[in-house]
């Protein structure tokens, strides 16, 4: 009821509603002591903190400056954060007496490498230009990337361009006939960019010679050891009759699974590394294991069954499997080279070369999408053995036959196994023959767009190797792989069980344990023996008495 009547000077808030008075006027009416109070307040604000050396006055000044400069909305809600930011800014490096070391961030190094890709080599004459414009093995990565992009597959344009330049560098260094961007395999620490390359004919590597030399030396040592063993055979414990399964030799460079040579690099700009050729043992083992790639080629592959090689070999084996399963082309693009006498020379593995068909008529996109028989595989299938052309390991070379004669005694039980020749589907089989997995077809075909069928691209995705794609549009087609490098399996991966324990020795009667005789059996045996002894003694006694009789006479 009394309401807010006129305030008296002694009441707090007196000065608030009176003109000409400040808020503290009720406490400090005197102007001189007012300025003194202001100075005291300011001195308090300027007092430096004992822990951090800052003072509140400067801090508030900085904060207000920052707020007025930046003018954030709802500044009152984030005032504490602004205060923290201002304090944090104090920790920035200021001008030191020592010169600041420029931080070498890894970003700068990578930028340097990328820039190096774009620089042209110095020695450039007119001849080189002509060579480049003419037939070049350099693939048109950007064009392929454009077609795949229509389906939503592919890397960013920047990365594609970097890859194109990196491939150009590869070609200038290595004598290649054809080159193709195979794809990208993701890894844990780093990724792999893979290029598929075919050398000019005759440009064989020197590394194969080295491998043959080591094999021969190994054989010599083995023969020497055999001789020694024969001398000491009598005193040695029984020699094991275990013969390791014959090593299936890898295919020659340029044929079968080693038809192409693969180069990898972690990033465009880094040097290209050549992958070693793949051996059947590696492919067989790679089928049983499932491991992520780390990104380092020399990383060991720890698995069971133990993988014969390091990550570079595992990578090469997976690339071979993926290529064999998913490299496809429209039907009719490739045809078998017609040679005379082709029917006489039936190689065991079927034909393995093809050439481009100059009369190729591309099918319309709708047909390419609808029927899978419009596509064919153009890489040979890898047989269960690990090779494309079947190798009979029981075919003995001359050296082995000699050894056999010597060792025939030790191997009475060698089985004459007649291995079945493994046959795979021949080259250029249509995709409709591909088996699906459970109820999923092996390939999913889609046009890139349903809205504009005139310019659509036919795109195929593999369901067996997720990450493998192929496109076709008119006369252009290509395959590519983006993924982790593993096959799709609807079942969970079950590692192979360890092999059963080998028989240590043949069990025969001399080492077989027999049952110990029971007490009754022993007593019966003893009684029988005593009877026999008694019978024998009687006979002797009779003979003895006869003798005595004779002597007496």
């Amino acid at each position: 009821e009394r309401g807010h009547g006129p305030y008296q000077p002694h009441e707090p808030g007196y000065g608030l509603y009176q003109p000409g008075y400040g808020p503290y006027d009720d406490q400090i009416p005197d102007p001189k002591s007012q300025t003194l109070a202001i100075q005291n307040a300011k001195a308090y604000l300027l007092k430096s903190s004992t822990t951090s050396g800052l003072n509140l006055y400067d801090h508030l000044a900085n904060m207000l400056t920052k707020i007025l400069d930046e003018q954030p909305t709802n500044a009152v809600d984030i005032i504490e954060n602004i205060s923290k930011d201002v304090k944090w800014a104090q920790f920035q490096k200021k001008m030191d007496t020592l010169r600041d070391e420029h931080e070498i961030l890894p970003t700068f190094e990578a930028a340097e490498k990328h820039k190096a890709l774009f620089l042209k080599p110095n020695a450039e004459g007119d001849e080189e230009l002509e060579e480049e414009i003419g037939e070049t093995p350099l693939p048109n990565v950007m064009e392929t990337a454009f077609y795949f992009e229509q389906a939503g597959i592919g890397l960013s344009k920047d990365e594609s361009y970097h890859i194109l330049l990196a491939l150009k560098k590869l070609i200038s260094v290595q004598p290649v006939q054809t080159c193709r961007f195979w794809g990208k395999i993701l890894g844990l620490e780093m990724n792999y960019i893979v290029a598929e390359v075919q050398y000019h004919e005759g440009e064989e590597e020197e590394e194969t010679e080295e491998e043959e030399v080591t094999e021969e030396r190994g054989k010599e040592v083995h023969e020497f050891e055999d001789e020694e063993e024969e001398k000491e055979k009598e005193y040695e414990p029984p020699v094991s009759t275990y013969k390791p399964p014959p090593v299936i030799p890898k295919e020659e460079n340029g044929t079968g699974a080693n038809k192409y040579v693969y180069f990898v690099c972690n990033e465009p700009g880094k040097p290209w590394v050549k992958l070693p050729p793949v051996t059947p043992a590696q492919i067989v083992c790679a089928r049983k294991i499932k491991k992520f790639f780390t990104g380092r080629l020399d990383a060991p592959v720890v698995s069971f069954p133990p993988f014969p090689g390091n990550e570079a070999n595992y990578l090469r084996a997976q690339i071979a499997r993926i290529s064999a399963g998913t490299q496809i082309s429209p039907i009719g693009f490739y045809q078998f080279a017609e040679e005379e006498g082709d029917e006489e020379e039936e190689t065991e593995g079927g034909r393995d070369t093809y050439e481009e068909n100059p009369d190729f008529q591309p099918l319309p996109v709708a047909e390419m999408v609808d029927s899978l028989s419009a596509w064919v595989h153009n890489v040979q299938v890898i047989l269960k053995q690990g090779r494309c052309i079947w190798f009979n390991p029981l075919q003995k070379s001359e050296e082995e036959e000699e050894n056999e004669e010597e060792e025939k005694e030790e191997e009475p039980g060698e089985l004459q196994q007649e291995l079945q020749q493994e046959i795979g589907p021949p080259l250029l089989t249509p995709l409709s023959e591909d088996e699906g997995i459970q109820n999923i077809p092996a390939w999913t075909a889609q046009p890139s767009t349903n809205l504009i069928p005139q310019h659509a691209v036919a795109v195929l995705q593999s369901n067996r190797w997720p990450g493998a794609y192929a496109f076709a549009s008119g006369k252009k087609f290509d395959n590519i792989y983006f993924g982790w490098g593993h096959k799709y399996s609807p079942e969970n991966h079950a590692p192979t069980l360890p092999p059963p324990a080998q028989a240590e020795y043949p069990s025969g009667p001399e080492i077989t344990e027999t049952r110990d005789p029971t007490v009754e059996e022993e007593l019966a045996f003893k009684a029988a023996r005593e009877e026999a002894l008694a019978a024998a003694e009687e006979e002797e006694e009779e003979e003895g008495t006869e003798d005595e009789d004779e002597d007496d006479d």
Partner: protein, 275 residues
């Protein structure tokens, strides 16, 4: 990822090889905006794409004022017309959990319980439910599983207000390069599970406004995330190995981050063998 930053973000996650075609990109821009208008979402995230055998599902999520509330999910077969997915229930998760194999691409496809033993099938029939489950429900369950398991955000990107609701942190300027390489700077954007198990000492160091979620450090199995710096450190890309296809990107010292899923929608149960 945020619908507004879609073009730039797609460039950054394209290292995995999968992305969107120009046609889809062009239509997503406008169709996501329309979604925002129609459903009154505050934010629309393009979640990703689940590849089926015959078709693909494109998924979008809409967020309301509380970013941690259950999100509405929509799917589309062509990025033009979107349909709302039913909210996920525990029962859905349980029934869709054991389903294996690829998605078919047809939302009304029905899976049958072929592998369940007879008891479960009988029990279901008694309850009045059919022993089949639609692919739509499987999609919902899969998205929920993926979000719960591997939906991640950088530390400090979201703050929890004292009232409990979660909103974006306007002061978040991005992680530094060193911080971005550590798994502990990323959180699962879902209900925390391990937070209460931390020791008191650890809890004292936490900032309750930003550290209210589980970090990636203690994910089982260890090593189920790959952290890579692409473009020489300009982008940090995290890929999940448990759900192959989930990619998270963040540009250090900027506010750009997001995750997207491009994959087949199957959990990688062989992970322990593959590491």
């Amino acid at each position: 990822m945020e619908a507004s930053s879609l073009p730039a973000a797609l460039e950054l996650v394209s290292g995995g090889g999968l992305g969107l075609s120009p046609e889809k990109r062009a239509v997503l821009w406008s169709s996501l905006l329309l979604l925002q208008r129609d459903y009154r979402f505050e934010r629309v995230w393009f979640w990703g794409c689940i590849q089926g055998v015959r078709g693909a599902y494109y998924i979008a999520e809409g967020l309301g004022p509380d970013r941690a509330a259950p999100r509405s999910r929509l799917y589309s077969l062509n990025c033009v017309e979107w349909s709302l997915l039913p909210p996920v229930t525990k029962e859905m998760l349980m029934r869709a959990g054991p389903l294996k194999g690829r998605f078919q691409g047809d939302p009304s496809f029905e899976y049958e319980y072929t592998e369940r033993n007879a008891e479960d099938a009988e029990r279901l029939v008694e309850d009045g439910k059919e022993p089949t489950i639609k692919e739509e429900a499987r999609v919902v369950a899969t998205i929920e599983q993926i979000d719960r398991a591997v939906g991640i955000i950088p530390r400090g990107a979201f703050v929890k207000t004292p009232l409990g609701s979660v909103s974006e942190n306007r002061n978040f300027e991005g992680l530094s390069l060193t911080e971005a390489k550590k798994l502990s700077s990323y959180f699962h954007f879902t209900e925390p599970v391990n937070l209460k198990n931390k020791t008191l000492l650890e809890k004292a160091d936490l900032d309750p406004s930003t550290d209210f979620l589980d970090s990636l450090e203690h994910d089982i199995p260890q090593g189920s995330w790959t952290v890579q710096l692409e473009k020489g450190g300009a982008v940090v890309v995290l890929r999940s190995l448990l759900w192959l296809g989930l990619t998270f990107y963040h540009v250090p010292m900027t506010k750009q981050y997001g995750y997207v899923y491009f994959g087949t929608g199957e959990k990688n149960l062989d992970l322990p063998f593959m590491l």
